[in-house]
């Protein structure tokens, strides 16, 4: 209401933190500074950042897609298997038929079709997407293990080809795939904030009934959404394959929890109807820097997940508090006591 607005405009700090992504960028910078203190040898040089930018793009691209899914009030847990499937298709076609660009197209098409099937399962069978895509995680994962006979593939000689240069090359020391990830981020931001498809997703996640009465075809938009998610997962799979030059059936599994964490750390609403694309970009960076930073600081690797969990809780709470302090019962309590 009126007084709330006044308070925001008279307080430049609060106004600054209302700009999309600023609170989470701030947290990221704090973490970088912290690790510069605890692990100066690693974090004062550029190498660790370059290796970041080579490894973060695949999970970041998936997290960007997942942001749209969460905005619509849905969830997709099947992406690790789509990553693996796309990776397998790409490797197999390269190894057996020497395809590069066609292999890319085939891998992306595979992911798109799998996403489309996910969308059909969610909308036409009416299974809540959290459960439906968990089932699809098993189904697609099982299928790729069957078709690949459980074996891994290595394509080390793809290094030096044009496609490798375009998607996993280096400009000087700078990994090209990071530019691709930023490009996808820009595109996803435009789709969510400036495209009618994004608007449909916002209203579907906000209130299904409203979406229906304003004439949004809910099923069609959801199918499009899962299809896009499949495409982005497949693209992430190809980027991962080109960077590591290998396929193995568990390729995407390591992303499952960290990608979900990145989306929510970034400030996308758990309840749907609102999403922060810039937040997701920094959320992905934060998850990655915690993993690298703790190890470099000499903390046992086992602790990384613990700290990701901690940051997860702190940032979700912070995001809720920035939206409305009364949404956090603890803060609400403290505020009402302070007023007395």
């Amino acid at each position: 209401m009126a007084h709330a607005d006044k308070r925001a405009s008279s307080n430049p700090i609060a106004a600054f933190f209302k700009i999309e992504g600023t609170p989470i960028a701030f947290v990221f910078l704090l973490l970088v500074l912290l690790f510069m203190l605890t692990a100066p040898r690693a974090f004062m040089g550029f190498r660790v950042y370059m290796s970041f930018m080579a490894n973060v793009p695949p999970p970041m691209i998936i997290a960007l897609g997942l942001t749209l899914v969460v905005v619509a009030g849905e969830m997709d847990l099947s992406f690790p298997s789509i990553v693996a499937f796309a990776s397998y298709v790409f490797c197999a076609l390269y190894q057996n038929y020497d395809m590069t660009w066609l292999a890319l197209v085939a891998a992306l098409a595979t992911g798109t079709v799998m996403g489309f099937v996910n969308g059909l399962v969610v909308t036409k069978l009416g299974i809540p997407s959290l459960i439906a895509t968990l089932a699809m995680l098993f189904l697609w994962g099982g299928l790729v293990t069957v078709v690949s006979n459980g074996a891994s593939l290595a394509i080390p000689d793809i290094e030096g080809t044009l496609i490798h240069g375009v998607f996993a090359g280096r400009v000087g020391v700078f990994p090209v795939q990071f530019l691709w990830a930023l490009g996808v981020a820009g595109l996803v931001w435009m789709v969510l904030n400036r495209h009618r498809f994004g608007e449909s997703l916002l209203f579907i996640g906000d209130n299904l009934k409203v979406a229906k009465v304003v004439g949004i075809s809910i099923d069609r938009e959801k199918i499009k959404l899962f299809t896009l998610m499949g495409l982005l997962s497949a693209f992430a799979g190809v980027l991962l394959t080109l960077e590591t030059t290998t396929y193995f059936s568990q390729a995407g599994m390591g992303y499952l929890l960290t990608v979900v964490a990145a989306v929510f750390i970034g400030g996308t609403s758990i309840f749907g109807g609102a999403g922060k694309v810039v937040g997701t970009v920094f959320g992905s960076l934060i998850v990655a820097i915690i993993e690298a930073g703790l190890v470099a600081s000499g903390v046992a690797g086992f602790w990384t997940r613990f700290f990701i969990g901690l940051v997860f809780i702190v940032s979700v709470t912070m995001n809720a508090a920035i939206e409305d302090p009364d949404k956090v019962p603890l803060l609400k309590d403290l505020r009402s006591r302070a007023r007395r």
Binding site: H195, K209, V213, I216, S269
Partner: protein
């Protein structure tokens, strides 16, 4: 009314399985007419509206919009919008977390060829609607304000303003004053008067008979799926209307048995 009515229902019936919700309803809504639709819970008001606005097809009977017969199978909410019929539901017409400008344009945004929204143009028009059509001069409310910060009456205003902007000839209001404070109710009644002065028609569904009697040109009472009364408001005083509604109640076998 000499001109063709905006909508005309002829012998419309609607069944949900074995439950008869509407039986043989014939009703016309003329141009620039405010029609009050009254009836108890379960009288068939919402069903009538759903049939009228393309949310659900009727089981029998025909629907005419501006004299043209409507094919029930292809009649949808979008189709109704094209025929300039808008509905404002009690509380499910606006996305709470979305800013006002999005709420004005959702479902039919101003876009370029590639489907990208012209945010600047939308905000400008939204601003205009807020100022002129619904008269929002309120402090602290602008086009970027999310709906969750608005009062109940203001929300109805936004929804009605949206309907008027899209040049609808018929605006259906589904109990817009439910759960509103007295001051807010007056706002909504003013919005309804602005529909009339804007040359449009309105179907106003309401529990509070007093409000209906205050703003409507014509009264339609629905009772157990049938039209029990269809008369100009001027032909009845408020007391006569309440007496009539009470007499309906007394005729009801279930009510009689209870006494």
């Amino acid at each position: 009314m000499t001109s063709t009515p905006i909508v005309r229902l002829e012998h419309v019936g609607k069944k949900y399985g074995k439950v008869v919700s509407l039986k043989d309803v014939t009703l016309e809504i003329g141009a620039n007419e405010i029609v009050g639709l009254i009836g108890d819970n379960g009288a068939g008001k919402s069903t009538l509206i759903k049939v009228l606005t393309g949310v659900e097809p009727p089981t029998s009977g025909t629907l005419y919009v501006r004299g043209q017969k409507i094919d029930a199978s292809s009649y949808t909410v979008k189709e109704a919008h094209k025929l300039r019929i808008e509905t404002v539901y009690q509380d499910s017409s606006l996305g709470e977390k979305q800013p006002l400008w999005r709420n004005f344009f959702v479902g039919r945004p101003i876009t370029n060829r590639f489907g990208f929204i012209d945010v600047k143009a939308e905000k400008k028009v939204a601003e205009h609607i807020m100022r002129s059509t619904i008269g929002f001069r309120g402090v602290g409310i602008d086009v970027d304000t999310p709906v969750s910060r608005l009062s109940g009456g203001e929300r109805q205003g936004v929804a009605i303003g949206r309907a008027m902007h899209f040049d609808s000839d018929l605006i259906v209001l589904d109990e817009p004053t439910v759960a509103l404070a007295l001051k807010e109710v007056q706002k909504v009644l003013d919005f309804i008067r602005s529909i009339k002065s804007g040359g449009r028609s309105c179907i106003y569904i309401e529990h509070n008979i007093h409000h209906v009697h205050e703003v409507c040109d014509r009264l339609v009472v629905l009772d157990r799926g049938e039209i029990a009364l269809d008369a100009p408001t001027s032909s009845m005083t408020y007391l006569e209307l309440t007496d009539f509604l009470m007499s309906l109640h007394a005729r009801r076998p279930a009510a009689a048995a209870a006494h």
